[in-house]
């Protein structure tokens, strides 16, 4: 029973390899390629932070405080004399890991809920979508603030707070994507072969519905990064002394008039990485589904 399905899947993946290379080429040649470069640079910088950063990000050096850019400190120093560049490179670890973890959480929970809703429809669909409606009836950042206010801060709670907020959007996108493919012939074929529901879902439906979900994931990473920055700015996210971009802006702004560098540099870091995810997401949407192109 499993044989023909497996063979069918193999053939379909090998058939897709050439268009796959074509899609990758078009993505990299376009603005999506620029986005990919920004994202990869940020991830590499965050992972290699201990080797890349010229100074210890939390070592105090009061005599060198609030300096502008110089040969010693490329992006200047903050109010404790800590090197801004080193803090940005290290801060990327907190910001990016929270954004990735929260988005994956939302993808797994929201994607599963949405796929189940779109696949089974009926009462399950109604229940799941009502639940996501309620989640979506809070302004996104407010729900995250409320969660952190009551649960307390910390990495896990931060991931949970941002992740829960995006469960709703992921559920909607996954449901819509599954709805468009559930009546397709290859789904019917899988069913006719006697596959069980789980196999139909994971073997036929989800791979076919993956494109919009992938695009959503990339764009959500941008939102998650903005959310982490906002929450850290408010003092609800990553806790000192470990640096994060939002917190650096909050600390630096008290000395804005004296030394704007400590504030502006981490802000630009956020912008560049968020821009990277936005460009990559837009690029993916354009190459994966040209029909979607004109809607936005």
């Amino acid at each position: 029973m499993a044989e023909p399905t497996a063979a069918g899947l193999d053939r379909s993946t090998s058939d897709r390899s050439t268009p796959g290379a074509e899609i990758a080429r078009r993505l990299i040649m376009g603005a999506g390629g620029v986005g990919l470069v920004f994202v990869v640079l940020a991830v590499v910088a965050a992972v290699a932070a201990p080797w890349l950063a010229p100074y210890d990000p939390i070592a105090l050096n009061p005599p060198a405080r609030l300096q502008g850019p110089s040969a010693l400190h490329w992006l200047g120093t903050d109010q404790y004399g800590r090197d801004t560049l080193s803090r940005i490179v290290h801060g990327g670890r907190a910001s990016l890991s929270v954004a990735f973890a929260a988005t994956i959480f939302a993808l797994l929970v929201g994607g599963t809920l949405g796929a189940l809703a779109g696949f089974y429809l009926g009462a399950l669909d109604t229940a799941i979508m009502r639940f996501t409606d309620v989640l979506l009836s809070f302004p996104a950042i407010l729900l995250a603030i409320a969660l952190l206010a009551f649960l307390g801060s910390g990495f896990a709670n931060l991931v949970l707070a941002i992740g829960v907020v995006y469960v709703g959007p992921f559920a909607r996108v996954a449901r819509a994507a599954v709805l468009t493919v559930r009546e397709e012939q290859f789904v019917e074929a899988s069913r006719a072969l006697g596959s069980r529901d789980l196999r139909i879902l994971t073997g036929a439906v989800i791979p076919a519905a993956a494109a919009p979900i992938l695009v959503e994931t990339t764009l959500r990473l941008a939102y998650a990064l903005l959310a982490e920055a906002s929450l850290s700015f408010l003092g609800l996210g990553t806790q000192p002394p470990a640096p994060s971009w939002g917190m650096m802006i909050a600390e630096g702004r008290r000395y804005l008039a004296l030394s704007p560098w400590a504030t502006v540099a981490p802000g630009l870091a956020i912008m560049v990485v968020v821009l990277g995810f936005n460009l990559l997401g837009d690029g993916l949407r354009d190459v994966l589904d040209p029909r979607l192109r004109r809607r936005r």
Partner: protein, 316 residues
Amino acid sequence: MLIFLLRRLLLTIPTLLGVALIVFALMRAIPGDVVTGLVGLEGNVAPERMDELRRMFGLDLPVHVQFGQWLMALLQGDLGSSLRTGRPVAVDLVLRFPVTLELTVLGLLIALIVAVPLGVTAALNRGRWLDAAGSLFVLLGLSIPGFFLGILLILAFSLQLGWLPPAGYVPFAEAPLDNLRHMLLPAASLGLILAAATTRIVRSSLLETLGRDYVRTARAKGLRERTVTYRHALRTALIPVVTVVGLQFGQLLGGAVIIEQVFSLPGVGRFALEGINLRDYPTVQGAVLLIAAAFVAVNLVVDVLYAVIDPRVRYG
């Protein structure tokens, strides 16, 4: 239309109930409970006294009874009293909500004033440098955090140029002009970001409409291009813009929480954040409920407005 309105109104009831349930559940999820939170800051308290306090808050009752009592109080407008000041939370919210409302409405106005002309210009100059400049504005606006934009505006217009105050609030009733001077930068921080998303939608919606048959008919009738664009195409093109802007307007309420903090505006969001720092849970709960309720109300208005503008929606 009446039936549509009634049905839509009825649909908000389970949503509001769900919102209340989530906020209630969050209150129970506080590590320890309200009493340990409260007492923890006061010092040593005998366990008997803590139990007494729990009874006072009704924490010894079954959860569903607690929820029922809490909901009944909520429906009567009783949001409890601040653990810090002892003042009813509802009173402070009524005082502070106008600030948040003014901020979001001004933000929306700025967004529309910027986005509609920009989106139209981009669409009419498709593929040329004006279009590219518009796209750049959109991308930057979607990538900048609102609080950072606010700080950059303070840096430029308050610290460097000295044109506008960097923080503070003056009630509109006292000094209207001074009030607007204080609100301009915060509203711009919210509005410019919303403008980015809106420009994108105005542009693509207008491009789509310009390709429709009736627009071609209007041109074929010999109408001037200006008339075709503004009288015929733009009207239809703005319909999807209403929905998106409406939904985004709700998100502005969330953004306002952060912007109020940046500019020290005494709105509901700042009230909530002060409550968080002081572990004043009734305050946080009241502010969150109010903003969520306002968000649901805005979405309701948008839906109804949409049905008024586009009659097809009602029968769909």
